[in-house]
Assembly symmetry: C2
């Protein structure tokens, strides 16, 4: 089932621990990895505006990041700037895209075509940023065959077939919470090694599989915490003497 992924494992003992960093000097910290896409997007925007060169300060302002942090982030990729001048926008853009691995499209499947899955399938940002939705799956038979974003919704049982045919590595879970763990298990069994989980709740996967979680209400709750702290009585209290 997961023949293609396990067969391509390098198998050499060079990268044993996550802290070695000796391979080619490239061990990029997680915090930096999380910012690279932000830089990439800003560079694309600059390119559309015709900007050919930018300094770290300009890019920092455009991305809301400290310029020293930005330079250090970029230094993990290599020395792609020119002192006294700045960075070539197109060149730097390509280098970041290459480092992330989005110089070509990644095929992606989405499981759970409810409101959110529907929106994700139609989200144009995926295609323009290195991803191509190649499969929409749902357990609900009423949805099967329905056209969504130019694709027909398929039965969940087709998972293995789609993954195998298209060599998919990344799956998106947009189901209710109750189904998320089962879906994740099936995804792993089918050979997916990266999962983006929109369902609330924790899913567990074996080592070697990456999971990222996006929880919409958690983001709101974090905002609520700070809001709550700004004004002691946030919403229902009618009168408060604001000094």
């Amino acid at each position: 089932m997961n023949a293609h992924t396990s067969a391509e494992r390098p198998g050499e003992p060079g990268t044993v621990d996550g802290l070695t960093a000796r391979v080619s000097g490239r061990e990029i910290p997680e915090a930096t990895v999380a910012r690279l896409p932000i830089y990439l997007r800003a560079l694309n925007t600059m390119l559309e505006c015709g900007t050919t060169t930018c300094s770290s300060e300009e890019l920092a302002v455009a991305t809301g990041v400290n310029s020293a942090k930005l330079r250090k982030d970029l230094s993990y990729l290599g020395s792609y700037g020119t002192r006294g001048v700045g960075y070539d926008v197109d060149y730097l853009r390509y280098q970041i895209a290459r480092e992330i691995g989005v110089t070509q499209d990644w095929p992606v499947i989405i499981v759970g075509i409810g409101n959110l899955g529907h929106a994700l399938a139609n989200y144009s940002g995926f295609r323009s940023r290195g991803f191509r939705v190649v499969g929409l799956l749902d357990a609900d038979v009423d949805l099967h065959g329905r056209q969504v974003a130019g694709l027909a919704v398929q039965p969940f049982a087709d998972l293995e077939q789609i993954v195998g045919e298209q060599d998919v590595a990344i799956g998106v879970i947009a189901t209710p919470a109750g189904a998320a763990q089962d879906v994740a298990d099936r995804m792993v069994a089918a050979g997916l090694t990266s999962i983006l989980n929109f369902a609330p709740g924790v899913i567990t996967v074996p080592a070697g599989v990456d999971v990222r979680k996006v929880d919409l209400s958690i983001e709101l709750q974090i905002l609520a915490y700070h809001e709550h702290r700004k004004a002691p009585q946030p919403q229902t209290v009618p009168e408060r003497g604001v000094s």
Copy 2:
């Protein structure tokens, strides 16, 4: 973020900075705040299953967090556990909800009723976790009056009115990138002090306004980076000797 990051230092008399820590001297670290909603959700699930007591170890397993970290997180709220016993699920749940500020519903407005805004308006997780969508706004006149999730889409010009009438503090931006900054400016002018931004790109707001950003394609790109690293030739790359 400067208003939240002044922890009380040993030796100094508290509340030197004016706005900070005046409630009860507790300054909860951001990393902890981000986890409190996760604990809250797990506790709610436990409560539905009839569990009345749990240890830090059980809650840690349910949330995928180290138990020592969990205990430290909870200790910022106070001493709500009993040594030798554990935590009362309902009591702890209430304390966390109170700390976050979701014991009552927060009214929320959503601007941009496209695919994503539509899905957000219908997302049941908001209502069940302390939020109530009280307004849907869009600049597109064709959408005005359309019923979405039991609410009629209103013109964007109604923003100030809705915010004023319902005492809204939190707004969600689900527009295309180009409109995001304008919408944010109007939101701030209308009095919103917390913004959840789903639009790609950076928005800038004055101090005192909190912004959180959720970027769907960035999450996928982070996964792609790690996937890219697992197998040197991920999908369709034919040759190229990578240095």
